[in-house]
């Protein structure tokens, strides 16, 4: 049976991949069909994930494991939001109230806390890893911050302008070279991994 599923993945993937390079009508139509199925399946997979999340926390509450109160809060928030959004619509005032009051401020605040965490990690970087690369990393970050941040005072002086130019040179020349190499490496890795899946060397979908 595993060979059948592997053949399915291979066949479907082949048509989708060919569609990038070949403009034949039936290939494009088949590709479109498979992509539509995949979009629907992705939404279904999201729902499956949410059901699993609910099941895990429900189990914690029913067995009164450690932290079950928090799980109860999660289940309550999930249920209220889902019901309101399904009944009245995700664009309804009720659903948007929950979004603007709970989800948006909570996520923004998390991001704000991240600022302090990043600064703490930056402070400890050179102390914990005393090598040239750490110094280079922190030094680059410092120069970019100096070249990005505003300067106190009324007008930007020549020093500030020089810092801005240096910052632009760092990010648009030196970092651009490294970024291009990283992008190429990521693309190569993604290609290799995708081909391994298409050629059934890897079967993440199981047997």
């Amino acid at each position: 049976m595993s060979a059948i599923w592997a053949a399915l993945a291979l066949g479907v993937g082949l048509f989708v991949l060919l569609g990038y390079f070949i403009e034949l009508g039936f290939i494009q139509n088949l590709r479109l069909t498979f992509l539509r199925w995949a979009v629907l399946l992705a939404a279904a997979a999201l729902v499956v994930g949410l059901v699993n999340l609910l099941a895990v926390h429900w189990r914690k509450v029913s067995l009164t494991e450690e932290g079950w109160v928090y799980s109860g809060v999660l289940i309550l928030a999930f249920t209220v939001t889902l019901v309101l959004a399904l009944v009245f619509g995700p664009d309804s005032p009720a659903a948007l109230f929950i979004f603007n009051t709970f989800q948006l401020p909570l996520e923004s605040s998390l991001m704000a806390v991240l600022a302090v965490s990043l600064l703490v990690a930056g402070f400890r970087m050179v102390y914990r890893r005393r090598d040239l690369l750490s110094l280079l990393f922190v030094g680059t970050a410092l120069m970019v911050l100096l070249g990005t941040g505003p300067t106190p005072g009324g007008v930007e002086g020549p020093v500030v302008i020089a810092l801005r130019d240096f910052r632009a040179w760092l990010s648009q020349v030196w970092a651009a070279g490294g970024a291009r190499g990283i992008l190429l490496g990521v693309a190569l890795g993604a290609t290799a991994t995708g081909l391994r899946v298409l050629l059934t060397a890897d079967r993440p979908y199981g047997n």
Partner: protein, 257 residues
């Protein structure tokens, strides 16, 4: 209903309703609950996190069910009616996805999980093909061509490039190649290569070690720039949160007054 940031946005602030005030107050409390993590992990922070996960998951589920699955699977059946269910187009666009979605839903239970394999195989196959196609046509080819053509003398001459620009292009090219080299050969032990020469007690590394070191230096610079950008972005968000707290406070004071 927007973010109650009052007059700090540059436009005229609209009058706030009770719902806006309540929303603002609740949001401020939740913001403080999360910021309390700066002191240390505490139950308030955990409650806030579980609230976030629950609300976000519920909203995402509603979007997926209401905006994707229902119009994609249910509405076509209602539109086509029972008679139209057997038409080839409905079979391909509705019935087949229905079967796949149902089998995928069976993955919820470990006992029936294996029936979801064909749906997962299709999803994975399509996803892999999209990633491969996009990587090849969208990144590998254009970026490689750009790297090759960056040193084209004709291009430089036509733009009136100066020596400075040429040097910059060389730096970009060296950075690209050395970074790729680092990824390719970083798994090898650094001590494998024999040094090129020994001068006054200093061992000059061989070309491979040199390229690897150069690649790691470029990566350190790139990540340093990205780190600085992440710090700047998060500081802007922190500023926005503090501004929000100030505005809510002033709105509440104004409303109570």
């Amino acid at each position: 209903m927007g973010s109650p940031i009052g007059g700090s946005a540059g436009g005229k602030a609209k009058p706030l309703s009770i719902a806006d005030l309540i929303s603002g107050a609740l949001a401020s409390i939740l913001t403080l609950m999360v910021l309390s993590y700066l002191v240390g992990d505490n139950p308030l922070f955990r409650v806030a996190m579980h609230l976030l996960v629950g609300a976000a998951a519920g909203y995402a589920g509603a979007i997926a069910l209401g905006n994707v699955l229902r119009p994609g699977l249910v509405d076509p059946i209602v539109t086509a009616g029972l008679d139209g269910l057997l038409s080839p187009s409905v079979l391909a666009t509705v019935i087949a996805p229905w079967i796949l979605v149902i089998t995928l839903m069976l993955k919820v239970s470990p006992a029936t999980s294996r029936f979801g394999t064909p749906a997962m195989a299709l999803l994975v196959g399509v996803g892999a093909a999209v990633v491969v196609g996009g990587a090849i046509s969208g990144t590998l080819l254009p970026q490689s061509l750009a790297s090759m053509r960056s040193l084209n003398p004709a291009g430089l001459a036509s733009d009136g490039e100066t020596l400075e620009r040429s040097l910059e292009l060389v730096i970009v090219l060296v950075g690209t190649l050395s970074t790729l080299f680092y990824f390719r050969f970083s798994s090898r032990e650094s001590g494998q290569e024999i040094p090129l020469a020994n001068l006054a007690g200093l061992s000059i590394p061989g070309p491979f070690s040199l390229l690897r070191s150069l690649g790691s230096a470029f990566i350190a610079i790139t990540f340093g720039v990205m780190y600085a950008g992440a710090v700047a972005a998060s500081l802007i968000v922190l500023a926005e949160r503090v501004q929000f707290l100030r505005d809510t406070l002033s709105n509440l004071i104004g409303a109570s007054g």
